[in-house]
């Protein structure tokens, strides 16, 4: 099949004899069975998988959206956190045990306190820990280190106040109700009240904290 027009790049004139000898000897033909198979394949319409592209697009979008939600969602919980019970809404409490006003005195019967120590308290702590993230990790249920941490915080605040001498003796003007949503900050505020000698206000805040966060033994005594 060599094109005579391409003879300019022939390696040599004597190669014509080689080509002639080759063509005389090489007369094989493609098998007829292969002919039919290949012609049939050529006539076949290409398979168009129209569902592949939309499916790939949808999968990519779903992955991207879930990734964005995961990254931007507040309050990621640590991987070691135990599984939570379903969140318990405070509105489901009995009217006598509704969320207390932070500044208002809390009248709480021993029976009510006992009731609060169960699922309600756990639900409150869980709600807080779920919405506050790591800062409230110590308030998760079945974590005795939470109480210890709060006690430690109270003692530290008291020591700090004592070291300040006269300044610490002055009434604390901080309104702890500002920290009503932050259990740790609220506890620290209560401890500061106690250190400042405002025991009545500290006790009031402590009851409010317990009513809100259900941690009976948490506040430093």
């Amino acid at each position: 099949m060599a094109d005579p027009g391409d003879d300019r790049d022939r390696p040599g004139v004597a190669d014509e004899s080689v080509s002639r000898s080759y063509r005389e000897a090489a007369r094989e033909r493609a098998p007829a069975a292969l002919d039919e198979r290949i012609r049939a394949a050529a006539r076949r319409k290409p398979v168009r998988r129209s569902w592949q592209r939309p499916l790939a697009l949808a999968a990519t979008l779903a992955l991207a959206v879930s990734l964005v939600l995961q990254v931007t969602a507040p309050g990621d919980e640590p991987a070691s956190a135990p599984p939570h019970e379903p969140a318990h809404a405070p509105a489901a409490d009995t009217p006598a045990q509704g969320p207390a006003e932070p500044g208002a005195p809390v009248t709480r019967s021993p029976a009510a306190g006992t009731q609060r120590t169960g699922r309600d308290a756990a639900g409150d702590r869980q709600r807080l820990s779920g919405s506050r993230g790591l800062s409230n990790y110590a308030l998760q249920p079945d974590r005795p280190e939470a109480d210890a941490a709060l006690n430690k915080l109270g003692r530290a605040s008291r020591k700090a106040a004592e070291s300040l001498g006269g300044e610490a003796a002055e009434p604390v003007s901080v309104r702890c109700s500002e920290h009503v949503d932050d259990a740790s900050a609220w506890a620290a505020c209560i401890a500061a009240l106690e250190a400042a000698g405002e025991t009545a206000a500290a006790e009031r805040e402590r009851r409010g904290w317990e009513a809100r966060h259900g941690q009976d033994e948490a506040v430093a005594r």
């Binding site: 099949m1 060599a2 390696p11 080689v18 000897a25 090489a26 033909r29 290949i38 050529a42």
Partner: protein, 209 residues
Amino acid sequence: MPDADAVPPPRAVAYTAAMTPADPDVRLMLRYRDGDATAFDALYSRHKDGLYRYLLGLCLDAATAEDLFQEAWSKLIAARHRYRPTAKFSTYLYRVAHNCFVDHYRRRRSRGREEDADAVTLPAREGDPGRETERALARDRLQRLLAELPTEQRDAFLLREEGGLTVAEIAAATGVGTETAKSRLRYAYRKLREGFAALSGAGGGRGDG
């Protein structure tokens, strides 16, 4: 079957009359790319035997040659929508076949069978050798002469003889420089010339191998 070179009026084609290439094979391939299956029949008829002989001479094994022959055409069929006429169609076709052979050769080496890569597997002789025709003997001699060539030289020779490729096209198809391709061709022709001469002088006595 329609005339292979007759180009029908353009349908929904991606090229214009002014762009129609001179190579009739390219025109057929473009028609096939655009949906004309009869163009493939014509194209296939023009090249099938040459391509089969190329692969047979390269592999020296009929079964492997058939496999690679089918693989090469299947690749061309599968890639028809991406075909762009940047060179002669024969250059394109033989490059595809060459790549199929290279892939096969690599697969074979990876399986640790490189020691018999150049072993000749000739068709078994049937009946009394004395009754074989002169053509069968000539084919037998040719196969043995080709088997004595290094694969690269055999490849260059077969691309020239079966594909009609120029030195530059052989260089492009095999991925080497022009001088390398020319050197391979020169050595291949020289060895084959000497081999044919020796066989002629010996009266075809090497047919039994």
